[in-house]
């Protein structure tokens, strides 16, 4: 497999942005709010066309990759269809892709994988926010994409649920070996989850720095007290122009 990569483009919202994601790598993207993170992710996923530059996935243009169902999206809100049960929501991509789905994972298995065994026939309105996010992740995994693009998927959740989902996401990532691009505005979340953190500057966004996090996966809560974790959080904060003393 070739390296999926994003090579520099320049739009109103975004300036020079160029980074690679290795197969099976978990990369987070962090930046000040309104810097164009969502725009960047939409461009990476082929939902928006950049005015300049290219997105390559497996060496192919992103639009070809999108049509081959290589890209799974998880949005800021779970955006489930309220008239479909959890399992029916997970099955939606399979219905849309039909024959063109390269691989299909058993929807029941994915639902179990994200920790929702027994909730197949529950409607979204009866699920908690965290559970809805889990359904959204299952829906993105059910057609076995190469790369998972996640746009602040836990942004609307409370701290406790968020941390739990983060841990579960890492576990899922280790099981499925997907490449993941995880956009967030939470520095601790970015560092805690990812192998590398792409730090963006304020609008128009450019890559300020790419920080490698040398902690092994799976990560545990007590790693948040480790030297490496604290230093890397410091690096990200520095790259964002925040010092330890100031608050943003």
């Amino acid at each position: 497999m070739q390296y999926p990569g994003v090579r520099g483009f320049s739009v109103d919202a975004l300036k020079e942005i160029s980074f690679n994601v290795k197969p099976g790598e978990l990369v987070s993207v962090v930046g000040p709010s309104g810097c164009g993170k969502t725009t960047l992710l939409k461009i990476v996923g082929g939902l928006l066309r950049p005015s300049k530059g290219k997105v390559l996935i497996d060496g192919e243009d992103v639009n070809i990759a999108r049509k081959k169902a290589k890209i799974g999206f998880v949005f800021q809100n779970p955006v489930l269809l309220p008239w479909r049960t959890a399992i029916k929501n997970v099955e939606l991509p399979l219905e849309v892709l039909g024959q063109s789905a390269r691989h299909q994972v058993d929807p029941l298995r994915v639902l179990k994988q994200v920790g929702l065994a027994g909730f197949e026939s529950t409607y979204p309105s009866q699920l908690s926010g965290g559970m809805q996010s889990r359904v959204a992740i299952a829906r993105a995994l059910v057609f076995d994409p190469e790369i998972l693009l996640m746009d602040e998927p836990f942004g609307a959740l409370d701290e406790i649920t968020r941390e739990k989902l983060g841990e579960d996401l890492v576990r899922l990532w280790m099981e499925t070996k997907k490449s993941i691009v995880f956009v967030t505005h939470s520095i601790p979340e970015a560092v805690f989850l990812a192998q590398r953190v792409v730090v963006l500057t304020a609008r128009p966004a450019a890559v300020a720095r790419i920080v490698s996090v040398g902690l092994p996966h799976p990560r545990t809560a007590d790693m948040q007290a480790s030297r490496e974790y604290i230093d890397r959080v410091g690096d990200v904060r520095n790259a964002l122009g925040l010092s330890w003393g100031s608050s943003s």
Partner: protein
């Protein structure tokens, strides 16, 4: 789970009791009003031609029963046919408007113009064009009704969560698939709000059209009763139209509950 079921059961009993209570209150209030009406009209010697007693209305109803069913059936057919055509045309035009700016600019003003023309003014013309049969009535019903569905269908289709559309695009879904899997179901609550308005305006449209161009149907019966100064029969016709309207509205509301079970109820499913 046992506790949950228990709560569910007691909740159902509570709901049933509150419905029973409301029905009882309604029966008592209506019963009291009818009794007061009967009493006042009798003792104040109000002339029958101005205000008949509930009892004489009941007698008029018994006498007119066989023709009443015929007239009610006729009006019902007009309303239901007009309603179905209004709904189908409304959803089609609404969809066209939601997808095309040009069609929106052409169709919207026409729809508003047609809607603004009073049924009572257009009914004689329709009778001239389509004769004294049912066709002219159905046309009047449609003219007064299809507007709501157009507006709400367009609105519903356009207020789909953009993230849902993004999701479908990320799967390279063609627009037709997005329409049937996402847009149309999302628009259904809007469409049904419009359909509830539509059914009421269909009842009015049919009655007005019959009043103008017919001696048949409940509107025609009302006109006939008025011209014979048979006020009791006039009341029978009025009550029949109202009852018919309530029944049809109830059917639409029932269809809404069946077709949109996910629509959040008053008491939130959240918690």
């Amino acid at each position: 789970m046992g506790i949950l079921k228990l709560i569910g059961a007691s909740e159902r009993i509570r709901v049933a009791l509150s419905i029973l209570y409301r029905v009882l209150v309604a029966i008592i209030v209506v019963g009291f009003l009818i009794a007061a009406w009967q009493f006042l009209v009798t003792y104040l010697r109000v002339p029958e031609i101005l205000l008949p007693t509930p009892y004489s209305i009941y007698v008029a109803f018994l006498n007119a029963q066989s023709t009443l069913y015929y007239h009610t059936g006729l009006t019902t057919v007009e309303i239901v046919t007009g309603f179905i055509i209004s709904a189908l045309a409304g959803v089609s035009f609404g969809t066209a408007i939601a997808y095309s700016k040009i069609l929106e600019r052409i169709l919207y003003p026409i729809a508003i113009l047609v809607k603004l023309t009073p049924a009572i003014a257009i009914a004689p013309l329709m009778t001239l064009w389509f004769g004294y049969g049912m066709t002219s009535k159905i046309v009047v019903v449609i003219i007064g009704s299809f507007f709501y569905v157009i507006v709400n269908t367009a609105l519903g289709l356009q207020s789909v969560d953009p993230a849902l559309v993004d999701l479908m695009h990320s799967l390279a879904a063609p627009e037709i698939v997005i329409f049937f899997k996402v847009r149309l179901p999302s628009a259904l609550p809007y469409v049904f709000s419009a359909l509830k308005l539509t059914i009421t305006s269909c009842v009015i449209g049919a009655t007005v059209a019959e009043w103008v161009g017919s001696v048949k149907g409940l509107g025609g019966l009302a006109l006939l009763a008025a011209s014979y100064h048979n006020t009791s029969l006039l009341f029978v016709a009025i009550i029949a139209v109202t009852a018919l309207g309530i029944a049809l509205f109830g059917l639409v509301a029932l269809a809404e509950r069946i077709l949109i079970p996910w629509r959040p109820r008053q008491q939130g499913a959240e918690s």
